[in-house]
Amino acid sequence: MNFKRCKLKRLDGQNPSYEKNKIMLKINNIHAQVGDNKILKGLNLQVKPGEVHAIMGPNGAGKSTLGNVLAGMEKVQVTEGSVDFLGKDLLELEIEQRASEGVFMAFQYPVEIPGVNNMYFLRAALNAQRKYRGESEMNSSVFLKLVREKIKMMNMRDDLLRRPVNEGFSGGEKKRNEIFQMSILEPKLAILDETDSGLDIDALKIVADGVNQLRNADRSFIVITHYQRLLDYIVPDFVHVLADGKIVRTGDKSLALELEETGYGWLDK
């Protein structure tokens, strides 16, 4: 193992160059727990518009908890620290407010909701966000046009839209549906929580392709993953290693390749 070879910097998520530009997301010394189990222990991270940050790390490191903290999942309790998102205190906002501010979480296990039609759900979500932002509601014909345009991008079958949310969807269809929702809602910050889990290689490519089409200078991504293979398709600007509730290493894409070779055994040394 030779970490010098990939020129790692111990940044702990703090890159002085961020300060030159506007910062979209600033996570400062976050401590969080689920029940009595302390999971995040002083995590720092800054994300600028347009950047893709990959979060990797061993099981139980706190990767998904980080996503849950940002999305506002109530099961996670933040005990210390702050999260600034475009000048707002994210931790003060309810889940739906965060979504309307532009935070989107693509779930590792998308929930099946019997009886709630996918289209109805999406239109309700889009219009709720538009209302929050003081915009007028999107009428059904404009919405339908938007949906048709985006569904092609995700290579999804039309009939999935008419079915209840995620009900009876395969694993791949659920993940594609998450990215499809993202394409409709157009968030500023998307958190992909192990979106690659349970996907075969073709589905992975489709999902990654969908994400790449949504990449732009104003939209940032936090990609939580166990495996380097997703990062072959969604090339990150930064790779962070999360261990024991903190970011312990930060590097570029080559760090992911290194981890693929070496695993996380070095963390114990």
Partner: protein, 381 residues
């Protein structure tokens, strides 16, 4: 209503009535039966979770209504030829239909004794009738209403009925469906939280009768329904769905028994109930399949959601199968709104209350068989 004053009320009522001797006899016998049976108690299966004292707590219950202007009928296209309607007080003795009662159904006896309004509608065979009936509360006193609908062979009835918001009604309804008839029945029981409705419904089905029934119960200090459905002929198809919503301290009890007396009939009972605050819902669904009723198909689906810690729901599906060749399925669930689903909807920007309503709407979907658009307006979150 039911203690000492009732004797004098009964006397007062019968003394002032000018009606046939046979009906007076019926009243007296029914009143005696009522007194002998006594009020239902917690030992009565269909009243096990219902406190009948809720009726006594209602204000102004110690009077009995009189008069006959208790309905508003809206008939689309008028009455079909040979279809008749008459005042229940004016019907012939031969047309009077006795109902077998017991302690559970004791209010049927009271209804007969104190009867003050009602009608008999006989729909001619091969005809169609679309009808709306509004049951009106004329005074603060209890109304005892009896309605009888006879549906001729091959006739079709599309009936929607609703009760006044300020309702204090003891309603006995009988529907006799001749062979090959079709019934679509929508009942809206949207009541004030202080009021009460006691409802007994008997449906007699001849061969090849199809019944599609949808009921919405919302609130009332006490809304108690007993429905008995008899399949007397083969190949009947009965589907009953109801949505029950109890807020505050309201109590809704729905009891339905389908009696498969002959074979090859299908009964499907779908109940979806919500209780919030200190609201209570009690559901009993029973199907009895007789020895001779091979080929019966029975399904009961009772699903319930508690929206608060103090709300209570009692839910009991029951099958009594006395023969071998039967398809039967029943299920009952009581739970809360699914937190994961709620969080998922909210994570897309949908406000919490709206997300709850979306989940409730999906929960009610199976029971909203007539696709009522304003059903969510009933929910107070």
């Amino acid at each position: 209503m039911f203690k000492n004053p009732i004797d004098s009320l009964f006397e007062k009522l019968t003394n002032r009535l000018d009606e046939p001797v046979w009906l007076q006899k019926k009243r007296r016998q029914a009143f005696k039966n009522f007194q002998d049976l006594g009020l239902p108690t917690r030992k009565s299966e269909l009243w096990k979770y219902t406190d009948v004292k809720r009726l006594e707590r209602l204000p102004d219950v110690t009077d009995v209504a009189e008069g006959n202007e208790h309905f508003v009928f809206t008939i689309e296209g008028g009455l079909p030829k040979e279809t008749t309607m008459s005042n229940i007080i004016d019907i012939k003795e031969a047309n009077w239909q006795d109902i077998k009662t017991d302690k559970e159904r004791v209010f049927v006896e009271l209804n007969t004794a104190m009867l003050n309004s009602g009608f008999e509608l006989s729909i001619a065979k091969n005809s169609q009738l679309k009808l709306h009936i509004q049951y009106q509360q004329i005074s603060a006193a209890w109304e005892n209403i009896r309605t009888v609908i006879n549906i001729g062979e091959n006739a079709q009835l599309d009936l929607s009925e609703s009760y006044d918001y300020d309702c204090r009604i003891n309603h006995v309804a009988i529907i006799n469906a001749a062979k090959n008839s079709t019934i679509k029945l929508q009942s809206n029981k949207l009541l004030a939280k202080t009021e009460a409705l006691i409802h007994y419904l008997k449906i007699n089905c001849a061969k090849n009768v199809s019944v599609e029934q949808s009921t919405v119960n919302n609130n009332a200090s006490l809304s108690h329904t007993i429905e008995d459905v008899d399949f007397n002929g083969e190949h009947c198809h009965f589907k009953a769905a109801s949505v029950n919503v109890a807020h505050d301290s309201c109590h809704i009890a729905e009891n339905i028994q389908t009696n498969h007396l002959v074979g090859h009939c299908k009964s499907e009972v779908i109940k979806r109930s919500l209780a919030t605050d200190k609201g209570q819902v009690a559901i009993n669904a029973k199907a009895v399949v007789s020895v001779a009723a091979d080929g019966s198909d029975v399904a009961q689906s009772l699903k319930n959601i508690l929206l608060s810690d103090d709300a209570k729901i009692y839910s009991r599906p029951e099958l009594e199968i006395n023969t071998d060749d039967v398809i039967a399925a029943h299920g009952s669930t009581i739970g809360e709104l699914d937190e994961l689903s709620l969080t998922y909807l909210r994570s897309r920007g949908i406000p919490k209350e709206q997300a709850k309503l979306m989940l409730i709407e999906s929960f009610l979907q199976d029971a909203n068989i007539f696709k009522l658009e304003n059903i969510l307006d009933l929910i107070e979150l």
